[in-house]
Symmetry: C2
Amino acid sequence: MTIGIERAACIGGGVIGGGWAARFALNGIDVAIYDPDPDTERKTGDMLDNAERAFARLFGDDRPAPGALRFAGSVAEAIDGADFIQESVPEMLDLKRAVLAEIDAAAPAGIVIASSTSGLLPSEMQRGLTHPGRLLVGHPFNPVYLLPLVEIVAGRETDPATVERAAEIYASLGMKPVVVRKEIDAFIGDRLQEALWREALWLVHDGVATVEEIDDVIRYSFGLRWAQMGVFQTYRLAGGEAGMRHFLEQFGPCLAWPWSKLTDVPELDDALIDTIAEQSDAQAAGLSIRELERIRDDDLIAIMEALERAGDSGRGAGAALKAARRRLRERH
Amino acid sequence: MTIGIERAACIGGGVIGGGWAARFALNGIDVAIYDPDPDTERKTGDMLDNAERAFARLFGDDRPAPGALRFAGSVAEAIDGADFIQESVPEMLDLKRAVLAEIDAAAPAGIVIASSTSGLLPSEMQRGLTHPGRLLVGHPFNPVYLLPLVEIVAGRETDPATVERAAEIYASLGMKPVVVRKEIDAFIGDRLQEALWREALWLVHDGVATVEEIDDVIRYSFGLRWAQMGVFQTYRLAGGEAGMRHFLEQFGPCLAWPWSKLTDVPELDDALIDTIAEQSDAQAAGLSIRELERIRDDDLIAIMEALERAGDSGRGAGAALKAARRRLRERH
């Protein structure tokens, strides 16, 4: 058994499924993709263009020849010959379960079936499958072809060997797998993002700041910190020489201050949607999604390369990039 | 009246006050600092060492000669001759008010008094001052000598001219001032950070992840995004071609999912403090705070320089750095 894979199936296209297809293909893996959306071929092509541009900048001539991309007419057709399956259909449990049952019936024994769900529980999704042991969550972050993180979450019936195999496969794609210790809604990343997002919605709702002002607050301050150290290591330093315990004792009481009163969930009604959509249009300043995506990708590449150069073995995402570069060179 | 300032007073040292002192001094401004802590001189010196190292890397020979650093024996002595005052004493309203009253009595007319408070309301702090119109909040982010953001918050009695003047002064120090439209507890940045932090504490409390796993989840995924675009522009792209409105309509319902049940405030009791402090020690892997600070600074410099090179006029924090470089060259 090789550590990597040779043929992947993507069930579900879109921003996430298409991003997976691009990551597979640009790592030299053949991909079959199935999505009932008649526009899938064009959308996936656009995604692949972005991803190829990013990979050319990152890896130059050290890239392997891209894998073949095939658009299948059904789930079964996409799965045929695959040795790894990534499901990325919309976030509705019934739909996920129906599609996963179809995958389960068609997939050869012993291969990993990973769901890209942002928050549904794998135990719920695997209920009723014939081979539930091979299903787990492999939750990536957009853009999937660039960001290293993938959260691996096992359900009650997931075989531990499936977790191990999925982690190996994702690492072979240049990713950073983090295995979530307990199965909870929204896992780790989306829990954290959702909490901040909820607060951001309140700030817009209450007219405290526009979406652009909030984004500026983030990217001119703690966004820079979190790109390299995360929240706990950052706060360790905020405690000064006395470190983490001092920080917790000093700032712990804030948790009970009025800051914490606004934990209610804001209602995302038409008025709030209108406000945010209009402010977001203004912030985009006429740039198309495609143009913004390229700006984002250029920035992410620049940041990851900067972190790659920092420290002997790179730091954070820079370490993942350094490892990916080494693997691609070997494979080339 | 010049746009910049020539002599600043820092009332309160520590991680924040010392960081301000370093930013002032390395921008060529004389600084007087007062803090009753007998260790202030050594701690500020260490902070200045870090900051000098960072400025040398960032600006090389284009740095101005550093301003003189003077340790004063009292508030009044520190303020003597100052044309700008930054207060950074501990986050206790009564203490802040007592110190601000002392500053207010000693400070010459017409100069700005800015408080570094992370969350106290300027209206509360200015109550009872003889000249409340010159007080506002200028809330920076650690490390103050590197991160560009400063949140400016006016109280009910703050003179609009004070806001304008503070914004000019901070910009002349290479910072990105964001004026908060409404006075609320914890402003914008700490609201957002507190929300995520609360969720992170739950994840550790419930044994879902260690502090290192949470930090990895952040820095290998959305931390990279937030360093360059913030949350709203990022989500605009997550909506794909359909943009922000589509994203909101698609993900809005998640707000009412079980993800949002855990909005309670975790109790930061001894057991949780012990767990976090121990996991944080393990994460630090024997590196001292000073060593971690230098790693952090190197990473921040690398990220900001990467963003400076991206795009014609730099992007986000990169634009601030480009502007700071231009100003320092002119002043040199």
